[in-house]
């Protein structure tokens, strides 16, 4: 790492769902080629490292530069130029953050604390993709590489050490989770979709994705049922809507979303289904409005009936539980941001450390060569190799303490400041060689 690499400061310029409506955000969103061109132009204007991040909720440009204010201005100019949105229109929506604030922001974004749906999983993958693109185009350097890897680590930690991403928020995913609470192995279970409503289709899609063994689709329009089968589960059996009660006897999960004034399943028909299929549990998801399943069915033994409101209230409950984890996650982000900043501030000492190591190594090599030619020439190659190792060990151990101290002083928080610089310098040197 050269000296020039070590004095770059992290900065961020961006807009998000919190500051701008979608109409404005989409103006700043650049596709692959244009984002590459954008980063190239930014580099030519003194932005040494850059990663362009665009998702449906945000457009953010992370950068590292020796002159962060000038770099932020250049990025803002370029964004304006590429988006064709005048500064007057976007001014209030664009935010700029520097140093620790920018670092903490990226860590929050990666951990999905800044997402529209807190705890969602997509953002991490999107960040990884954007970062990979920048790495491929050689737009990153030591600072942003370290920062993004730190962000990925923090995100993983937040996901594993808190319950922020634990409970699902999507109705379809909740339905799958409920099915898993009832059945041991979904691959041995059969699902029946009654009607071709959009939400019903989505739930079936999730069930199929999570390995449901067999699928039956009962619909008025067989053509529509065939379309769903083609898209979701090619081997699905298709039956007319009137045959739904008969098909229900063989299935374990029933999703109803048919437009009907009358109940498709009444308490009596459900009782008959249970009698025919034995006392195995039956999971019913009624997402139609008006409802397709008589609510009295829920009273029957071994039947678990959920309507759209039940699923929605579980989603609300899960959201509340996620928000309860935000504080803990924010503390993790803060701690990791502090750790990154300590590393970053320690970079100032890197050139000095490299110089010291090079100098010591040069002396060691020179002295070894001199001795090899004269006083140690009787040694075999094997013995001389041992001497080389020994001197290397001595050098490494001698330098370990001073280098550790130098890194500490470099972050500015542990360094000594005083009225007598010479005395201070002597004290620091003595401390460096003190155990």
């Amino acid at each position: 790492m050269s000296g020039a690499d070590t004095n770059r400061e992290v900065l961020l310029v961006g807009i998000s769902h919190k500051t701008a409506p979608v109409e404005l955000r989409e103006c700043f969103s650049l596709d692959g080629d244009r984002s590459r061109l954008f980063m190239e132009r930014a580099a030519s204007r003194g932005v040494e490292e850059i990663v362009y991040v665009a998702t449906c909720n945000r457009v953010e440009v992370y950068a590292a530069a020796k002159n962060p204010r000038a770099a932020a201005a250049a990025i803002l100019d370029l964004l304006e130029e590429f988006s064709c949105v005048p500064a007057a229109e976007s001014g209030g929506a664009v935010y700029k953050k520097y140093s620790r604030e920018a670092v903490a922001h990226l860590l929050s974004v990666a951990s999905s604390l800044d997402s529209m749906v807190v705890g969602e999983n997509e953002i991490l993958g999107q960040l990884r993709e954007c970062y990979k693109g920048a790495v491929r185009d050689k737009r990153t350097g030591p600072v942003l590489n370290k920062l993004f890897h730190q962000a990925f680590r923090t995100a993983k930690r937040v996901r594993t050490e808190t319950n922020i991403a634990r409970n699902p928020l999507s109705i379809a995913f909740i339905a799958v989770e409920l099915a898993r609470s009832i059945f041991e192995d979904l691959s041995k279970r059969k699902a029946l979709l009654v009607g071709a409503g959009e939400m019903g289709e989505l739930i079936l899609r999730y069930l199929a994705k999570h390995g449901t063994g067999d699928v039956v689709i009962a619909n008025r329009s067989l053509a529509n049922a065939e379309r769903i089968a083609r898209e979701i589960y090619a081997e699905a059996h298709i039956v007319p809507l009137e045959d739904a009660p008969a098909a229900a006897r063989e299935t374990d999960i029933i999703v109803t979303s048919v437009s009907s004034r009358d109940f498709v399943f009444t308490a009596d028909s459900a009782r008959e289904i249970m009698r025919r299929r034995g006392a195995r549990p039956l999971f019913l998801i009624d997402i139609a409005v008006p409802r397709n399943i008589d609510p009295a069915v829920a009273e029957l033994s071994d039947i678990f009936l959920y309507n759209i409101d039940d699923l929605k209230s579980i989603a609300d409950e899960n959201l509340k539980s996620r928000l309860g984890e935000v504080e803990l996650a924010a503390r993790m982000v803060e701690a990791d941001a502090r750790e990154f900043m300590e590393w970053h501030e320690g970079l100032a000492a890197v050139p000095a450390i490299s110089r010291i190591q090079e100098k010591f190594e040069e002396i060691r090599r020179r002295e070894l060569d001199r001795y090899r030619k004269k006083r140690l020439k009787h040694l075999s190659d094997e013995d001389f190799h041992l001497v080389e190792e020994l001197t290397n060990q001595i050098m490494t151990k001698t330098l370990h303490n001073p280098i550790t101290h130098l890194k500490k002083y470099a972050d500015g928080t542990r360094g000594h400041r005083g009225e007598h610089p010479l005395e201070e310098a002597v004290r620091i040197i003595m401390e460096m060689f003190d155990k």
């Binding site: 634990r166 009832i182 034995g278 006392a279 579980i314």
Partner: protein
């Protein structure tokens, strides 16, 4: 020393129970790991107490262990330890936490209940001494313990079913095994309960035949044991049949276990007259 170690094991078991229940409630991996650690740690003073009391270990001592009232409790707790450790290593490993949340407090209660009997000289009075007696007791106890595990599973099943019916959040239900898994575990436990209890009873019948040339002495305790066996067989048949439904079978299982445990306590602790009683 023996008493001290035994009390220490009860304290550690109580801590393990609290940690296990709390880990389930709070979905905390940290508490779960500590519950497990405390459980295994509590086994050290527990085994220490047993060794101090019964060392050196001969065949005669073995019969003594199972025939004294505290020894009987000790054997019960010992096999509970063993079975819970076995679950931790078996295919039920992933479900150790919810099972432990019921089983750990149960072991704690068994051990705590046995404390007043540590100095008691009461022992099983059968009117003969035969080394097969130990096997009869152990097989019967293991059978009852498997029945206890089906009771623990049934409680979990009823709890999960209630939560699913009430349509509350997924926070707790997500930490429990599925209803079907619990049902399979219960059937697995009851099948073993029937096997071991039957083996224990057959051995008991053989002992009675060898010593009294009869199969049944018409004592209250024998009747209670056969009744327990009938209850467990009924549960097994209901589970295998499947017509009654998971929820109802679980409820029957819980009720019949309560009846069996009441008979167990009555026949082993309260009743102190007649054949096979602790006197």
């Amino acid at each position: 020393m023996c008493e001290l170690l035994f009390i220490l094991s009860i304290v550690l078991l109580a801590a393990a129970s609290a940690a296990c229940v709390y880990s389930l409630h709070a979905d905390s991996g940290w508490f779960h790991a500590h519950a497990r650690r405390l459980f295994y740690l509590s086994a050290v003073p527990f085994l220490g107490a047993g060794l101090i009391r019964y060392y050196p270990f001969g065949l005669r001592d073995f019969i003594n262990i199972v025939s004294t009232i505290w020894g009987h409790f000790y054997v019960l707790a010992f096999f509970l330890y063993l079975l819970l450790a076995y679950l931790d290593l078996s295919r039920w490993k992933a479900h150790w936490r919810p099972i432990g949340a019921v089983a750990l407090p149960f072991i704690t209660v068994v051990c705590a209940l046995s404390l007043p009997f540590m100095g008691s000289a009461r022992s099983i009075q059968v009117g003969f001494a035969n080394h097969l007696l130990s096997f009869h007791v152990i097989l019967a106890v293991v059978g009852e313990l498997f029945f206890f595990f089906s009771f623990a599973g049934s409680l979990l099943g009823l709890y999960l079913e209630r939560r699913l019916k009430r349509k509350t959040s997924l926070r707790l239900t997500g930490n429990l095994p599925s209803l079907e898994t619990i049902d399979h575990f219960n059937t697995w436990s009851v099948t073993r309960a029937v096997f071991f209890l039957t083996a224990g009873l057959v051995m008991g019948i053989a002992l009675v035949w060898i010593n009294y040339r009869t199969l049944f002495l018409f004592s209250l305790k024998e009747t209670m044991m056969y009744l327990s066996w009938v209850f467990i067989v009924i549960i097994l048949l209901l589970r295998r049949d499947g017509r009654l439904g998971m929820g109802r079978v679980n409820a029957v299982n819980v009720l019949l276990f309560a009846a069996v445990i009441a008979m167990y306590v009555a026949s082993n602790v309260i009743m102190n007259t007649g054949f096979h009683s602790f006197r």
